[in-house]
Amino acid sequence: MLKPKSVVIIGASREPEKVGHVILQNYINAGYDGKLYVVNKNAGEIMGFKSYKSVLDIGDRIDLAVIAIPARFVPQALEECGKAKVKSAVVVSGGFAEIGNNELQDALTRVAEKYNLPTLGPNCLGVMDPRSRNDTLFLPTYKLSKPQVGGVSFVAQSGAVGSTILDLIGGEGFGLSKFISYGNAAHVDEVDILNYLMNDAETKVIVLYIEGIKRGKDFVEIARRISKVKPVIVLKAGRTSAGAAAAHSHTAALAGDYQLQEAIFKQFGFIVANDLSELLYYAKIFVTEQRPKGNRVAIITNGGGAGVLTTDAIASSGVLELAELSAATKKVLQKSMPVLVNVRNPLDLAGDAGSERYSAALEALGTDPNIDMLIAIVLFQTPGADSKVAAKMVEYKDKTDKPVIVLSIGAEYTQMHRIMMESAGLPVYDSPMSAAQSLAALYTYSKYCATHK
């Protein structure tokens, strides 16, 4: 489904406003280099492709069928895919269980099961794999920034949230491994998808947006195994649907359905995000950073106030500690820093700090055994901070085995440097709180892995 050598678009159309048209156009635009077929009962030729009446007429091996036709015709089309030995299907069409049409959805499930044909959807965006240039999304390319190739796989039940996050990922420095929107989960569901991604070498981090869980026991089983292999960041909708008001026990009043699911996520090492921006914060630190050995954080900064705010954020994270610099480090810093620099943590390099001072500080802290993680605050509004500092950060990042992140707050000039650093695999945060929360999540996961081998 994700790396097909041949794709058929069932319901491809000449009319630009039709979903089937956008999908075909996107395959062409993306430069998909496998074989492409189109099926449309009425048209003879679509955008230069010969149109077949049925998938059965093609007479070639088909790895993926993308189905974008009115719901009532879908089971029949899927049946034909089964007969034609198509390897997988994505049903983009809506009009099934989401509008109460359960019978039609059951019919679809029965066909998928009959032919053992992995079927995604219905009512979904389908899949995107930038490496294979396979993209079933019916979103016009000019409307969203499609992400670069990377290590984050994103799984969303909802198509709308899915495309929003996809667009946001497009604006981030980290890239995408797989995007999977699975809609009503009539056949393939979140458990199948997690199973696949757990074993997918291209996926380093899984980001999951989930509305409901269908197979509770199987979900628990995969959750138990997957966190030991790679991190899963989850955002579950329905947080506020608290325990039933008319609960019969205090326990049920406290532990509503969301709380139960959150308990499972935490128990099995998932990283729980509370909103979309947290998903992205966590994704970028988990995809680039190694696991810290402990929870002690050092801060270097070119602004005193930002250092204090970050110290507060670390203290309020509940899991991180401010590192106590070793005697050896203090000695080195006392020699290398100008007298106006007070040698302690947070280490305030002062507003005139340039790349040399940053470099000397990073070298000294990088070898300190009392430090597990590092936040480098670079406020680009100061006279000393420029592209050389950003370059020095990237250079240091490649050398150290400690997690290191940058905190830079500001508009255009700062954003330019953020993109520069993030493209080189160095996560940049725009608030002390998000930086501290992300390090805390990284540490919590690392602790989970150490105690659940």
Binding site: G216, V220, S249, H250, T251, A255, Q261, Q267
Partner: protein, 205 residues
């Protein structure tokens, strides 16, 4: 959903070695007086219709004399008329300590969950609890305690952690081995450095 009879529920706790306060149903004030045998007791109304017993004035603690017991019994029977069918239970007074809640809930999808939190009247005010899927390990139980904001209050800075961990392990086993339980409240359990006792039990089938 059906409330398991209090004394049946108590027997189930006994079977798993979970201590609860000495209790007996009483149908007259004289029975309550003889149960007291000169020691202070509590009288409570037990009814399907009353979840928040203390708030509804259905708990009368610290009754030592015959006059106190008789007066409280009369007051409870008149209050409980609208809660029929009901029973009145007499319990020995528990020693003072920290009130915690240990609970259980069955979910049709995932199975049984166990909960621990700050108990008694604080349950809903602070909503400070930790929740896990059963069965839990000893390490899980210690992690649950560590998650509570009130962990220092509940464990007396760690001294009672062993006691609480043992309760959690026993309740987890009880939940797993008894299929029919849909909800369970042990609220409060009174914990002190000398031990613990469950003061109120609520099991729903």
């Amino acid at each position: 959903m059906q409330l398991l009879d209090y004394m049946e529920a108590k027997k189930l706790l006994d079977k798993y070695g979970i201590g609860s306060v000495e209790s007996r149903y009483v149908s007259t004030s004289a029975e309550a007086v003889s149960f007291s045998y000169g020691n202070p007791i509590v009288l409570k109304v037990i009814s399907d219709k009353a979840l928040h017993k203390a708030k509804a004035g259905l708990v009368k603690p610290g009754l030592a004399t015959k006059a106190e017991i008789t007066g409280a019994f009369r007051e409870l029977t008149s209050k409980a008329v609208k809660l029929k069918p009901y029973k009145i239970i007499a319990q020995k007074m528990a020693h003072s300590g920290v009130e915690i809640i240990v609970g259980g809930r069955a979910d049709p999808q995932f199975g049984k969950f166990i909960l621990i939190g700050l108990g008694g009247i604080y349950v809903e005010a602070f909503k400070d609890f930790a929740l896990r899927l059963c069965p839990i390990t000893k390490a899980d139980s210690m992690e649950m305690l560590g998650q509570l904001r009130s962990k220092d209050i509940i464990t007396h800075n760690g001294k009672m952690a062993g006691t609480l961990s043992a309760i959690l392990m026993k309740v987890s086993r009880l939940l797993i081995e008894n299929d029919g339980i849909s909800e369970l409240d042990l609220n409060p359990i009174i914990v002190s450095e000398t031990g613990y006792t469950a003061v109120d039990i609520r099991i729903l089938k």
